[in-house]
């Protein structure tokens, strides 16, 4: 089982979420994060133009079985894309065990 962590634009979130549902990826957590990166937002405050490198993004944490890995990544790559600097990143890591709390079952079955 794999964990996919994706940092995407907040404006792309609805599109990414709907597309993930389309490929049967229905469970994940997400939260808003602030980060630094290559993109800068231009702000103007009382005559002073300042660029802030503190950028708002949305962080998705998706745990899937190995067979779902490729379609999840492809979906995110396609729907979170705009072509502008700041589209985000995807990280993949290994998950050694998963459980469903309600039934205490473990393994890939708990991800369905």
């Amino acid at each position: 089982m794999k964990k996919i962590e994706a940092i995407i634009r907040k404006s792309k979130f609805d599109e990414v979420k709907d597309a993930l549902h389309q490929v049967q990826v229905n469970f994940f957590s997400y939260w808003d994060v602030t980060g630094v990166g290559n993109e800068k937002e231009g702000h103007v405050y009382r005559g002073v133009t300042y660029s802030t490198s503190d950028i708002q993004r949305r962080y998705l944490s998706i745990v899937v079985s190995d067979s779902f890995l490729e379609r999840t990544i492809d979906t995110i790559l396609k729907t979170a894309y705009t072509g502008n600097v700041g589209d985000g990143k995807i990280f993949v890591s290994d998950i050694s065990e998963t459980y469903r709390i309600r039934t205490a079952e473990k393994g890939e079955g708990s991800l369905k």
Binding site: K10, S11, D14, D32, E41, G42, H43, V44, Y45, Q56
Partner: protein, 407 residues
């Protein structure tokens, strides 16, 4: 008239001027509270503009259009700018109720509220420049012309139409424009799905929305209390009572009816119900008795809940319920003068109906012309990207809460 009485009257009118002024704070808070954080600065900006432009326009042309003196009853102009008449500072000016300056300022505070009603309905997707231009024309010309037909001594007042403090002349004037604007503007992205399902876009700060409604209720003490046009103890004390009772009844029936329909105690329906009651009593606050006020409030609360549902059903997106509160309850409040209270009667009801209809026609046509022209030239909406990312960042280059997020 004794100078002390004249002074007392004028003091009350000036206090009311301040109370109506602070309603803009109430509107700002209410609109912010019921919309998303990413558009907060935009809403504040629009409200600030309305106050300032409204007052200046009223000084330049509005006051002269609304009170042209002797005129044909439809369109007249008293002259550009403000000129103190000879008796303007004496008890001769307005039967000792107030001075010329107080007259201008008190009425000027009303003028901007018409545009502020629209600002709530078009929130989160209207283009700032287009809204500014619309406000200038609508508050500068349309509002005072409509007002002249009744309060300026025009043909509606001669016919027998009655609107004590502006259920029609202020609230529905704004409400009709809000309706046209919402229709031409289109809904916010995500409000209605392709399959036609209605989505919810929750407001980001309900404490602020609640504060807004309480401030508006306080402001109404001046809105209705000052429409007595003097400090007459009998009239003013009655009006404050009818106003507050209608507000209270509206809130209660609003939340109860919403509970019956939706099985949840919805705070926003409570708040809208209070406002609906206030708008509903505004046309006849000086004509109603205790029972009348309570009944009008109770009915207004129900009407608001139904109105919000109707607007949704018509696939119109009104983020703050402005159309239900100001237009629908404004019409109801106006007609109520013919149904309840001292002026109740079939003849008065017909007068009210005619007034509602003619003002409605005038406002809809003029709002449509202005907004359609803007739509075809500047465009009414921001781009999709701007709307999704928030107007604050794109139109204003700043965020309302730089250090923390509320949504």
């Amino acid at each position: 008239m004794e100078n002390s009485l004249f002074t007392a009257n004028n003091i009350w009118m000036m206090i009311c001027t301040g109370l109506v002024f602070i309603m803009h704070l109430g509107f700002s808070f209410l609109e912010i509270g019921l919309t998303r954080q990413k558009n907060t600065i935009n809403i504040l900006f629009k409200n600030m503009f309305i106050i300032c432009a409204g007052l200046v326009l009223y000084a330049l042309i509005g006051f002269g259009l609304m009170y042209p003196g002797e005129f044909n009853g439809v369109l007249g102009f008293g002259g550009l700018g403000l000129r103190l008449p000879e008796n303007g500072l004496t008890a001769e000016y307005a039967s000792g109720g107030y001075t010329y300056w107080t007259d201008f300022l008190f009425q000027g505070m009303f003028a901007a509220t018409a545009a502020t009603i629209v600002s709530g309905a078009v929130a989160e997707r209207v283009k700032l420049e287009s809204f500014i231009l619309f406000t200038i024309i609508y508050v500068g010309l349309i509002y005072p012309i409509a007002g002249s037909w009744q309060w300026g001594g025009g043909f509606l007042s001669e016919m027998g139409f009655y609107d004590f403090a502006g259920s029609t002349l202020v609230h529905s004037v704004g409400g009709w424009a809000a309706l046209i604007a919402v229709y031409l503007l289109g809904p916010r992205i995500g409000k209605f799905s392709e399959s036609g399902k209605v989505g919810a876009i929750p407001g980001h700060n309900l404490p602020l929305a609640t504060a807004g409604v309480l401030i508006l209720w306080l402001g109404w003490f001046g809105f209705n209390g000052g429409s007595v046009l003097s400090a007459d103890p009998a009239a003013t004390s009655l009006v404050l009572v009818t106003t507050s009772l209608a507000a209270a009844a509206g809130g209660i029936s609003g939340f109860l009816f919403a509970y019956i329909r939706y099985k949840k105690y919805d705070l926003t329906m409570f708040l809208n119900g209070i406002l609906g009651g206030l708008v509903g009593i505004t046309a006849g606050a000086d004509q109603m008795g205790i029972t009348d006020s309570l009944v009008i409030g109770l009915l207004a609360g129900v009407i608001v809940v139904l109105g919000v549902a109707l607007i949704d059903k018509l696939k119109l997106d009104d983020p703050v319920g402005a159309i239900a509160v100001h237009l629908i309850c404004g019409i109801f409040g106006t007609l109520a003068v013919g149904i309840f209270g001292a002026k109740a009667g079939w003849e008065q009801f017909v007068h009210q109906l005619v007034g509602v209809g003619l003002i409605g026609l005038f406002c809809c046509i003029s709002a449509f012309i202005i907004l359609f022209a803007l739509k075809k030239t500047l465009g009414l909406r921001v781009s999709k990207e701007e709307e999704v990312e928030g107007l604050d960042l794109h139109e204003h280059g700043m965020t309302a809460y730089p250090d923390f997020r509320l949504d």
